[in-house]
């Protein structure tokens, strides 16, 4: 597994040039109660043909980030700063027509709940076909044939009949497959999947994830998978980005982050997961506290109210200054604890669990 490079300048990294590059992204919503800082200084890269898993609680900013990539926020109430580079195309400053041409074409998105995310008034074939017609200028017949082809590709039985059915006539798993078919109809380079399996049961979840992996292998699609489920990440992703309160807490390859996590938040996430191998009597250790309000964020490190270790850091840095991700390349985290301290805490935890 190649280590990912996270240099600050796209194209000047030691490794291959990243396919998608997010630099210092900041997204603020003006609401009645004040300004919500949904994303605050986020940077990450995604290599072509890989899968990045973005993990975080509700309110961590993961969905907002991805909606920002496509420019789907209401411009009247949203302020976006920073840069998003899709190869050589900058997205934050791009105009509406540029973004329209990209959406569904080079960059496609699938959403969490396929029942509400598909139009109940149009047939599946029509909904898949219209993307194809819009971006490739196809005729109705061509679009319909393409829709049938896509339905077959995602494993929907009897595609020639089902293409004329409405979304409410499909089961949950089938609907999600149909949505994937709709997203892939123009062979996008980047697929953003926003919690695609959260609304499905576990067996269907496995099928959908397998489908995504197969499609990536066949077509080399780059995938960003947003989820709150670390199991999904372990199964499907190559690299992980852990988000907290609109910022990156930790990032690296799946192996690095899940077997040698280095941020207290990641420790908390991992220890709050039930394991098949652990004893039934051992209680789950949730991360104490609740996610911070994005209106009034705590000063310094956003995680410090819920962290057990700020006292180990000599000064009161945790409470005053926001930590940046370090090291810049490879497996990095935003925490003031030293490597040695982290190692000690980690082994201490492992001892407790065993």
């Amino acid at each position: 597994m190649t280590t990912v490079s996270w240099s600050s300048e796209p194209g000047t990294s030691r490794g291959p040039e990243p396919f998608l590059s997010v630099r210092d992204l900041s997204v603020r919503f003006s609401t009645e109660d004040g300004v919500v800082h949904a994303v605050d200084g986020l940077s990450f890269d995604v290599e072509k043909g890989t899968t990045l898993g973005i993990v975080g609680e509700s309110g961590s900013g993961k969905s907002v980030t991805n909606l920002t990539i496509l420019g789907l926020h209401d411009p009247a109430h949203t302020e976006v700063d920073g840069e998003i580079w899709l190869e050589d195309q900058e997205l934050v400053g791009a105009g509406a027509s540029t973004l329209e041409k990209l959406r569904g074409n080079r960059v496609a998105m699938i959403f969490q709940d396929p029942l509400t995310s598909l139009s109940p008034f149009h047939t599946i074939g029509r909904q898949i076909g219209e993307v194809y017609r819009k971006h490739k200028g196809a005729s109705k017949k061509e679009a319909r044939d393409r829709a049938i082809e896509m339905l077959e590709r995602v494993g929907i039985p009897q595609p020639a009949t089902r293409v004329d059915h409405y979304p409410h006539e499909f089961s949950g798993g089938m609907r999600q497959r149909a949505m994937i078919a709709m997203a892939l109809v123009c062979d996008p380079d980047l697929l953003i999947a926003d919690e695609p399996t959260t609304a499905l049961d576990v067996t269907v979840q496995a099928q959908i994830l397998d489908l995504l992996k197969d499609l990536q292998q066949q077509f080399g699609t780059t995938i960003i998978l947003i989820t709150h489920d670390l199991g999904v990440v372990a199964n499907t992703a190559d690299n992980v980005l852990v988000m907290y309160a609109g910022r990156a807490a930790e990032r690296g390859t799946v192996r690095e982050v899940l077997s040698k996590p280095s941020h207290p938040y990641t420790w908390g996430l991992l220890s709050s997961m039930p394991r098949l191998t652990s004893s039934v009597d051992v209680p789950l250790v949730p991360v104490r506290g609740t996610p911070p309000s994005l209106l009034n964020r705590p000063a310094g490190c956003a995680f410090h109210p819920r962290c057990d270790f700020p006292q180990l850091v000599g000064s009161d840095l945790c409470f005053t200054q926001r930590p940046d991700i370090s090291p810049e390349n490879g497996h990095g985290d935003a925490c003031y604890l030293t490597l040695q301290q982290k190692r000690d805490i980690r082994t201490g935890d492992t001892k407790e669990q065993a």
């Binding site: 496509l70 569904g104 819009k134």
Partner: protein
Amino acid sequence: MTSFLVRRILGAIVILILISLITFYLFYALPRDPARAFCGKICRPETLTLIRHNLGMDEPLFVQYWHWLSGIFMGREFTQFGACPAPCLGYSFATQEPVFSAIVDRFPVTLSLTLGASVVILSFGILTGMLAAWKVGQPLDKIASSTSVIGASLQIYFVGPLVVFAVVDTLGLLPRPSYVPFTEDPLTWFVHLLIPWVVLSIIFTANYTRMTRSQMLEQLAEDYVRTARAKGMSGRSVFFRFAWRGAMIPIITIFGVDLATLLGGAIITEQTFTLHGIGELAVRAVQNTDLPMLLGVTVVGAAAIVFLNIVVDVLYAFIDPRVRLS
């Protein structure tokens, strides 16, 4: 679809029978005695008995009702008037004219008024509502919303004569509202009903503007609209092709109810513009304690409303594929 229609029509018949029963009962619950009214100031008991007999009022209530009900399906024999073919709604106590033909004569007037107004109200209301939603927050939206509120607060018996005075008498732009049969001259029919239509729409449109606007805004916030945008559909396509269908469903529901209001309000509208429709018949029937006419008008009006509601239900199935009419 057929089973749905059959069930609805059967249900409609039950409703209409119920309505006729209630009207019948209410009529006799009123203190005013029609026979007495026709008798005149100096009323001899023999005349009274004769009148009662002629009106069929000396028979028990349920027999009278049965005569009336069966007359609709099978026709009736009247000693006074001879045979009355089905559907027979009897003869007016007051004018002696056959109720059915009286209603049939005037029905087109009320229908033209109601349906024409409906078309204007719906098209104007939905259009302005969509415009307000399209330009939400901008001056056009605010203007549309506030004028619609003013419009909704007006009363037809106030605005109607005012508009007639301004447009017909003062400016001479349009002829005085009257009814010219559509079959005779469509253009004149249209021009002569324009003022009542416009006045009615000033009052009713407001509701539709506001509703369309809020429904459109709600639909635009729905997940599937977000998906459409994520697919690269243009703003206009998203607005007009995707959002409006969901928005129309509650609007059609409300319209089904408003149709009944429009039809019922025909009474006032027809008085305001002196149009000789069913509303006028209804008013006169009450004033004259004219049972057959009253029953006839009520049942026909109710039948129209029920029928139009069935049409609305069928319309649902066309707009929303999730609706199964089973």
